[in-house]
């Protein structure tokens, strides 16, 4: 009873000092705690599949510990609810996993440290991996199959001195992931360098090189480039990655993938999106050319309704996707 009263008092005090709530920017309870989250629902239809799902449900919290340290934590349940509209099968997964858990140490303009589980600082797409922030429901294969999307390790980052805004990341992992079942490419060795430069307010570009070794002892080295133009009406985004791998049986293989995406926002709520992607993994013999045409409607920016159709050179993969997602 006393605990409940104390909690209620803390809650009321926090609300009394809180900034006004803005949808999509979390509830701020002062500098040391902001709480937010997101969810997305999807309808996915292929020739032999029609699924309705609550795909991601996540909560996150972050804030400043003091002027030098800040923290970020995110728990997520993937595949929260899934129902097949063909045979009625239902699946539920209410287990929340650690999506991100890290701390930042802010030292100087040129040298800062992030340690813990974090999004790998490669390119543009990978840094905004949730449905609500994307402009299509689907991800390019480039962003999900060719490098570990998360890093449980250290990222030294900052601006290179005397370069007018050239940002760098030196990152490394030499241990297991926080949760090896919840990473796209489980590994115990992942090192890389990324750079990004804002050429002006509308145009930026960057690249990354790195190496990782998977649980199956596949050693992969990759090289990646990316560029983005956004003037508020038009956005063009392009990323490409070339990878070379060595396998335990002394086999070697290479993979090449990239995409070009264009988006036209004809109002602040409505946009048309088109994307072409090339994916070719010589080792797994998985090769596909994918065209995507989509529509995005955001009645408010953190509320996203999207529809898209994908054409694949592998015809069985053609699919229709709709999604509804909210960031709060």
């Amino acid at each position: 009873m006393i605990v409940r009263k104390v909690c209620a008092l803390i809650g009321l005090t926090a609300l009394a000092i809180a900034d006004p709530y803005t949808l999509g920017q979390g509830i701020s309870l002062g500098d040391s705690l902001t709480v937010g989250g997101y969810f997305s629902t999807e309808y996915d239809a292929k020739p032999n599949k029609k699924n309705l799902s609550v795909e991601d449900v996540a909560i996150m919290a972050y804030g400043d510990i003091n002027s030098m340290f800040s923290y970020f934590g995110e728990l997520e349940s993937v595949g929260f609810y899934n129902k097949s509209l063909l045979n009625g099968d239902e699946k539920r997964n209410f287990t929340f996993r650690i999506e991100r858990l890290y701390s930042d140490m802010w030292m100087s303009d040129a040298f800062n440290i992030r340690f813990g589980k974090q999004i790998t600082p490669i390119g543009y797409w990978n840094k905004e991996p949730v449905n609500v922030l994307r402009d299509t429901t689907s991800n390019p294969l480039y962003s999900t199959l060719l490098f570990p999307r998360f890093l449980t390790g250290i990222d030294i980052n900052g601006y290179v001195p005397n370069t007018q805004g050239l940002k760098y990341h030196l990152f490394g992992q030499n241990n297991h992931d926080f949760d090896d079942e919840y990473v796209n490419i489980p590994n115990t060795h992942f090192f890389g360098i990324s750079v990004e430069k804002e050429l002006n307010d509308e145009l930026s570009g960057g690249g990354s090189v790195g190496e990782y070794i998977t649980f199956t002892n596949q050693k992969t080295r990759y090289m990646q480039v990316s560029s983005k133009f956004d003037d508020g009406t038009w956005q063009f985004l392009g990323e490409a990655l070339a990878a070379k791998s060595e396998y335990t049986n002394n086999q070697q293989g290479s993979a090449l993938s990239g995409y070009l995406q264009g988006m036209y926002r004809y109002t602040s709520e409505h946009a048309v999106v088109g994307r072409y992607e090339y994916f070719n993994d010589h080792h797994s013999l998985y090769k596909d050319n994918i065209g995507v045409l989509g529509y995005s409607y955001r009645p408010l920016y953190p509320v996203s309704l999207k529809g898209e159709y994908q054409w694949h050179s592998l015809n069985s993969e053609n699919r229709l996707l709709f999604s509804f997602s909210v960031l709060f």
Binding site: G24, D109, Y301
Partner: protein, 133 residues
């Protein structure tokens, strides 16, 4: 939006700089570029020239803030809102706010590293001007 930027730019050109970005006199920074001011207010950088900075906005849709967003950040409210929503996902919040230009000036005077913008007519020797627009 482009018309507003044009009008504000024209007024600024004809009358000279109308607004000043100010910082505490204790801070060893004498000038900042528009890119550095922009990076600080978009929370892209926590430190500039190895000085920790605390950007301060005027609350709401004050004309002073609209002018700053148009002329320095070069973003309208829709674009800025989208930007902060993306930053929320990265654990970054917008700058703190003060209710008026007077309180921005008082905050800058009293908090080392604080940086705000006020009408040029309010500038006196209690604060240091690092950028004008």
């Amino acid at each position: 939006m482009k018309q507003l930027v044009l009008i504000l730019s024209l007024v600024s050109f004809v009358l000279g700089s109308e607004y000043s970005v100010i910082i505490s006199k204790k801070v060893p920074i004498s000038t900042l570029t528009s890119q550095e001011v922009r990076d600080a207010f978009l929370q892209k950088r926590h430190t500039i020239k190895d000085q920790k900075l605390i950007p301060v906005n005027v609350i709401g849709e004050d004309t002073l803030r609209i002018a700053f967003e148009s002329l320095v950040l070069e973003m309208d409210r829709n674009r800025l809102n989208a930007y902060w929503i993306k930053q929320h996902f990265q654990g970054v919040t917008p700058p703190i706010t003060q209710p008026s230009a007077e309180s921005v000036k008082a905050f800058v005077q009293n908090v080392e590293g604080a940086m705000g913008y006020i009408p040029a007519t309010m500038v006196d020797n209690s604060v240091k001007v690092v950028y004008e627009f």
